[in-house]
């Protein structure tokens, strides 16, 4: 225990504590302070030692002293060893009950004394190491939580804010609702919407493999790529082809992205879209019927030669487009059964009778009554209703 914790000895004759010092020295404890009865209170008030050895001949020694020492908060966990003759079992028990950690009863050879002190010193050393580890882990955890919170804010900043959504709603005569929920602090989903011209806007939803930090880093990559001005933003299949070309080689071997990209044309009452391994989109028609759009295409980032196909769906006023990441139907209910794509279509159909103005909240409320709230994967759901013709305005 080289350079170990200081040991305080309370001894009625400090000059006679030499053998005790020697034993402690051989156990690696160099920093030993010896005080008499008068100096004990002052030495303890200056700070808690790592171990206190009290000679039973010290004035005032006894259960009451032990109990008083233990009332001091900084001495509560201190090993206090009493050294002396303790003839009666009752007295020994009383000392231990009052706060003595152990009794070193004489007669005792120096070798025995060494053997008795050694485990106490070792326990103290281990206890201090453990406390240090716990403190370090607490600090690390606290720092990690703060860093994660900052990273999460940054990720949420990638998504369209309320101002952009309301602006799109006015410009194109739509109601745009979204739900974004990561399974951990950070997620691998990303969605976005941006105007193309007065009649068309682009809408996308992307889901990277996995979740957590690695998947989240990929969403930042994609967000940066989508900001490139040379993307053919009004051609979904071409947009996916170009994005795929950029992501191949950028993503590690087993990471890729499922993506839906659409151009919604409110003048032509339709949407043109392409998918890369994304869930099939749903369009709820004004008559309450449901169209399930086809979906096929390699995920982004897997094969450089991948090509994508544009699909078309009618999207007249009064209809709604529902997009979601696969977590919505791959999640398992309390009974362990998967919710399933059929479950999603039933859920959307079920809203037709009493569909409120903003049906996404209603949909999710119903969903989470059947499903555990803690999802195993990141969940994004978009609900875009065509509320009517666009409102002319300065946007």
């Amino acid at each position: 225990m080289s350079g170990g914790p200081p040991v305080l000895i309370g001894h009625p004759r400090p000059h006679a504590a030499g053998p005790l010092r020697d034993v402690l020295g051989r156990l690696g404890v160099r920093d030993v302070t010896v005080v008499d009865g008068g100096g004990l209170a002052g030495a303890l008030a200056a700070g808690a030692p790592q171990m206190l050895l009290l000679h039973a001949g010290l004035p005032g020694f006894g259960p009451q002293l032990m109990a008083e020492l233990r009332t001091e908060a900084h001495l509560r966990d201190l090993p206090i060893l009493a050294l002396g003759r303790f003839p009666g079992g009752r007295a020994r028990a009383e000392l231990l009950r009052s706060g003595a950690t152990d009794l070193l009863a004489r007669p005792l050879t120096l070798a025995e004394l060494s053997a008795r002190l050694s485990p106490h010193l070792e326990n103290r050393r281990l206890d201090r190491s453990l406390q240090e580890v716990i403190r370090s882990l607490r600090n690390h955890h606290s720092d990690a939580v703060q860093r994660m919170a900052l990273a999460r804010d940054m990720q949420l900043d990638l998504l369209p804010d309320a101002t952009l959504c309301r602006s799109l709603e006015r410009r194109y005569g739509i109601a745009l609702d979204s739900h974004f929920e990561s399974s951990s602090e950070l997620g691998g989903d990303l969605w976005g919407a941006r105007p193309i011209d007065d009649r068309r806007f682009a809408l996308f939803l992307c889901d990277f493999t996995g979740h957590g930090v690695a998947a989240a880093l990929n969403t930042f990559r994609l967000h940066a790529l989508l900001a490139r001005s040379d993307l053919p933003a009004d051609d979904p299949a071409e947009t996916l082809r170009v994005l795929n070309g950029l992501l191949v080689g950028l993503l590690p071997e087993t990471q890729f992205a499922a993506m839906f990209y659409a151009v919604v044309d409110v003048a032509a009452d339709r949407l043109v879209y392409a998918t890369a391994a994304a869930p099939k989109p749903l369009v709820r028609r004004p008559d309450g019927g449901l169209d399930v759009g086809p979906s096929c295409g390699l995920p982004l980032g897997v094969a450089a030669e991948a090509r994508y196909r544009n699909q078309c769906l009618d999207f007249p006023p009064g209809s709604a487009l529902v997009l979601f990441s696969d977590a919505l139907y791959e999640a398992r209910g309390w009974d362990g059964r998967m919710f399933g794509y059929g479950g999603v279509t039933d859920l959307v159909r079920g809203l037709e009778d009493d569909a409120p103005d903003r049906p996404l909240r209603c949909l999710l409320d119903r969903y989470f009554t059947a499903m555990p709230r803690l999802l195993a994967d990141d969940l994004t759901v978009l609900w875009v209703s065509r509320t009517g013709r666009p409102t002319p305005g300065p946007d």
């Binding site: 889901d207 493999t209 996995g210 071997e253 087993t254 990471q255 890729f256 499922a258 998918t275 391994a277 994304a278 869930p279 099939k280 979906s295 096929c296 295409g297 390699l298 995920p299 897997v302 094969a303 696969d326 791959e330 998967m338 994967d377």
Partner: protein
């Protein structure tokens, strides 16, 4: 996920069972390590008993396909069912890895 191996000449058929998700990663890498040792000219992944696959499972197929190219193993898929078949079709993995439906 567990699996049965059947060797017939240079053709190895692996019948996978259970779920192909992130949890299957270690087991799957064991399978691929066998390829590196040689002696397998062709490997068929029989998916008929795989009841569920997610995107991490697709990632394992990418891993296998790349390992096959690297080691000269002819690699193909066989008989995906239900959700697994739908996932392979939506993600067009049959255009990447030959698949007998």
């Amino acid at each position: 996920m567990d699996y049965t191996v059947r060797d017939n000449g240079g053709v190895r058929e692996l019948e996978l069972r259970g779920q192909m998700t992130f949890e299957a990663d270690a087991g799957f890498r064991e399978i691929l390590a066998e390829w590196e040792k040689g002696g397998v000219a062709e490997c068929v992944l029989n998916l008929s008993a795989v009841e569920y696959m997610d995107s991490a499972g697709l990632g394992l197929l990418v891993l296998a396909n790349n390992a096959a190219k690297r080691t000269g193993v002819v690699f193909r898929l066989k008989h995906p069912r239900g959700q697994v078949r739908e996932l392979i079709e939506i993600s067009e993995f049959h255009t990447l890895i030959p698949c007998e439906f």
